[in-house]
């Protein structure tokens, strides 16, 4: 039996500046571990995340994309996370249609006080995506050249 090298997924996390990015900082301040696979991109608000960004990530070889925003009702910009929620609902169902496993995308509400939740969410997400394996469905193989 061949021993395969452990699959290390590439995970892109979009975090809103006011809640989730601060929550990610807090999990760091509290030294709560989560895998290095997760790379965070800071955006002003979850509603800044264009579905195109997520498609681009998959195209460029990401194995999972997670979008974190403020809890409903807590958005710094009042309604941004509601827009994000609606857009992601549509996008996720489209990805589903394209054959990208539903578990590869996730929308989570993480407040600035929820460092533990951020770490737990990331641990769970990395584990889920690792189990799913490499995402090949949308990957543009020309990018690997």
């Amino acid at each position: 039996m061949q021993i395969e090298e452990k699959f290390e997924p590439t995970i892109v996390a979009f975090c809103c500046n006011w809640c989730s990015y601060a929550g990610a900082d807090l999990s760091g301040t509290n030294r709560l571990q989560y895998p290095a696979n997760v790379k965070i991109i800071r955006v002003p608000c979850s509603c800044r995340v264009n579905p195109m960004f997520i498609l681009r990530a998959f195209q460029r070889g990401a194995d999972g994309v997670i979008l974190c925003g403020c809890h409903p009702g807590d958005c710094h910009y009042t309604t941004g996370n509601y827009y994000a929620r609606r857009r992601m609902t549509l996008l996720f169902s489209m990805l589903d249609f394209l054959g990208i496993e539903r578990e590869r995308t996730r929308l989570e509400w993480v407040s600035a006080a929820e460092g533990a939740k951020f770490a737990a969410t990331m641990n769970d997400f990395v584990e889920t995506v690792t189990r799913l394996g490499k995402n090949r469905r949308l990957e543009d193989l020309r990018c690997n050249k």
């Binding site: 590439t10 892109v12 990015y21 601060a22 990610a24 900082d25 807090l26 999990s27 760091g28 301040t29 030294r31 709560l32 571990q33 989560y34 290095a36 790379k39 965070i40 991109i41 800071r42 955006v43 002003p44 608000c45 509603c47 800044r48 995340v49 264009n50 579905p51 195109m52 960004f53 681009r56 990530a57 460029r60 070889g61 990401a62 009702g73 710094h76 910009y77 009042t78 309604t79 941004g80 827009y83 857009r87 770490a119």
Partner: protein, 663 residues
């Protein structure tokens, strides 16, 4: 091509213990465009900052990537340093390799790898950065307060006290609002008029305050610091300057059958009237719906008796244009209509009244001169039933409100207590679901009603009120005793839910201020910015934001004034630099962005464009007001043609970060 410097911070051992900082610096140094790299123990220190400044000068850097702690910690520090070295402060990007790397990983190899990736992403983004400058806009140092109740009065007085000019727009002929209709105030039982009317006089006498009574806001244009407001002064048919408020006309007018709205229709007034003795401004107003002269051209009594010659039947509405730096909404509340609650027989018996009507009946200046008498026959009621929560706390599918109206428990305790004090022979029943008395000295007040005054508090609800033989048969449950009660009451008082004034919704549209489903104005943050609307320059005072009692209203009104003063004190407003901006060549004028913008920062304008064939075309394109835009980016995603983008977080920048991470 940018000339980029990379600066990797050790943060003592905080970063250096888990991330091989030298390896990171070297790896990033190989990235295209990077002309300088360095690592240092404490980049945020004076010495570290100097290293950055020197490198910028020595290597003619156009931008800097700093791999350090979270940008929430030191982004500003590094931006200032960059600006001091002569480059635009927005040409700095931070790679967060402490909170989001070294502190959460133990394995040095993978942590170092991740730090390199994060650095690459920052470099990729920086390549697309452009210098940004925050705009500035001047501030008109005057405030407008919409609504002249206690909230508006307090806000206006506080702003005027700080030396700024304030205008109050009040749609009724006098300021004073609901508080002027109230008899006594809980929990101290001081008379409302005694504490309100001096404030009204202060408003009238203040040199800084102008009152536009009997006026309404008709249109609002502009943005924070620069609002243009059209105010319609409705015709009073009385010259405001000439009228002395002597009141002779209001005694001589032959049209006596006008429902007196100040007394909630419980008595009648004349067609020319002054709402109450302490009205401010004390000027007569003609009710055009009832005035015989205005309707038929035959009467003119008031004109004949007026020694000041103030009556002007030909007066027309006038519209004023005024400029303000800040707008305060203080539109207040009303009790809901009770026509849908006829199980309580409100429309079937004059002896079923609302709590506000009860205030008028017990008020010394009210229709009964302060004697508690039944509206139907003018007799003294010996048994009074108070019903709480009428129209409050409903499930949302009915005709009522889902929220607790907050003030009813306390004013009902007040009514019950005052009744028992003045008329000890009167039995008073209060039906309650919960008695909610959070507030200083509030629960003590309620307990006094029960313990000292013997008010019967019954846990249960009235199911039906039937007018029968001059009595009101009240069928209700007593849940604690497990009984159904039938009380032959003389008077039933309904604690009607309160709702925002009907004028609030159209006003919110004019102001592009957001509202909740109950038509209460939304605050910028429910906990931390409770007196500001999310729309810059719009402030909230009193019940327009949610149900409140008088102490809370006054506290909020003063808080609101402090915020307004803070704004008016500035000569110029520095705008957010990271604002949205449309590519006018791509914009198709669809208005989608305008609809998603929570701040009303986007407007449309028709612009002339030169076409390649040298013709000109007029197209409708989006325009973002940088003074109002907060940079959330909702519009950038909503835009179907991709014309809208956000400075500092542009589509290309974020894509570049994605690419760098996924490489």
């Amino acid at each position: 091509m940018q000339r980029i410097g990379v600066f990797v911070c050790w943060c003592g051992s905080n970063i250096a213990a888990t991330v091989d900082v030298k390896a990171v610096a070297e790896a990033l140094g190989k990235e295209p465009g990077v002309v300088f790299f360095e690592d240092y123990q404490y980049m945020c220190s004076e010495e570290g900052q100097n290293k950055i400044k020197n490198a910028i000068k020595d290597y003619a850097l156009t931008g800097a990537v700093i791999c350090s702690c979270s940008p929430r910690m030191h982004e500003n520090t590094f931006r200032k340093a960059a600006a001091a070295a002569g480059i635009n402060s927005f040409m700095v990007e931070i790679a967060n390799i402490r909170e989001q790397c070294s502190w959460i990983h133990k394995d040095k190899v993978s942590a170092t790898e991740k730090a390199i990736v994060l650095g690459r992403a920052a470099i990729a983004k920086l390549h697309l950065n452009a210098p940004l400058t925050a705009g500035e806009s001047p501030v008109v140092k005057r405030a407008l307060v919409i609504g002249g109740g206690i909230a508006g009065i307090q806000t206006a007085l506080d702003i005027a006290d700080a030396g700024f000019e304030v205008d109050i727009v009040e749609k009724k002929p006098t300021i004073g609002g609901k508080m002027s209709q109230i008899d006594k105030t809980f929990p101290t039982l001081d008379c409302a008029a005694c504490i309100l009317t001096p404030k009204m006089v202060d408003v009238a006498q203040s040199e800084k305050i102008r009152i536009f009574a009997y006026s309404e806001v008709e249109a609002v244009k502009g943005f924070v610091g620069n609002f243009n407001v059209s105010i319609r002064k409705k015709a009073r048919y009385v010259d405001e300057v000439k009228c002395t408020g002597c009141g002779l006309c209001t005694e001589k007018c032959p049209q006596k059958k006008v429902p007196n709205d100040f007394n909630l229709g419980l008595d009648q007034k004349r067609a020319i009237y002054i709402p109450f003795a302490q009205a401010v401004p004390k000027i007569a107003t003609i009710d055009a719906d009832y005035c015989t002269m205005l309707k038929t051209g035959k009467c003119g009594v008031c004109s004949k008796v007026c020694t000041a010659g103030a009556i002007d039947y030909k007066q027309k509405d006038t519209v004023l244009e005024e400029q303000y730096g800040a707008i305060v909404v203080a539109t207040g509340f009303n009790p809901i209509e009770l026509t849908k609650y006829d199980e309580f027989a409100y429309s079937q018996s004059p002896d079923v009244i609302t709590s506000l009507e009860f205030e008028r009946i017990t008020n010394a200046a009210g229709p009964t001169g302060g004697t508690l008498l039944r509206p139907s026959d003018g007799t003294h009621p010996h048994k009074i039933v108070f019903v709480q929560c009428v129209g409050s706390r409903e499930d949302g599918n009915g005709c009522g409100k889902t929220y607790c109206s907050k003030i009813c428990c306390m004013y009902t305790a007040k009514h019950a207590m005052l009744t028992r004090e003045k008329y000890p022979d009167t039995e008073v029943y209060v039906f309650y679901i919960d008695v909610r008395t959070p507030g200083k000295n509030f629960d003590e007040f309620y307990r006094r009603a029960v313990e000292e005054y013997g008010v019967h508090y019954i846990k249960g609800m009235v199911g039906k009120v039937s007018p029968e033989n001059g009595k009101l048969m009240v069928r209700a449950s007593d849940l604690i005793e497990g009984k159904q009660l039938l009380i032959d009451a003389d008077l039933v008082v309904l604690a009607a839910a309160i709702e925002p004034d009907k004028s609030a919704r159209p006003l919110a549209t004019m102001l592009t201020a957001s509202m909740d489903t109950n038509d209460f104005f939304t605050e910028a943050h429910p906990k931390l910015r409770p007196v500001e609307s999310p729309t810059a320059g719009i402030f909230l005072s009193g019940c327009c934001q949610g149900p409140k009692d008088i102490p809370e209203t006054v506290a909020q009104a003063s808080a609101c004034a402090a915020k307004v003063i803070g704004l008016l004190n500035k000569d110029k407003l520095t705008c957010n630099a990271c604002v949205a901006h449309p590519d006018e060549m791509l914009c198709n004028g669809c208005s989608t962005c305008e609809k998603v913008c929570p701040y009303g920062a986007i407007t449309y304008e028709s612009k002339e464009f030169r076409m390649p064939d040298r013709t000109t075309r007029i197209r409708r394109v989006a325009s973002v007001n940088p003074a109002v835009c907060q940079g959330c980016g909702a519009c950038t995603v909503a835009c179907p043609s991709g014309a809208m983008d956000l400075h500092g977080f542009s589509n290309r920048q974020i894509m570049a970060e994605v690419d760098a991470i996924c490489k």
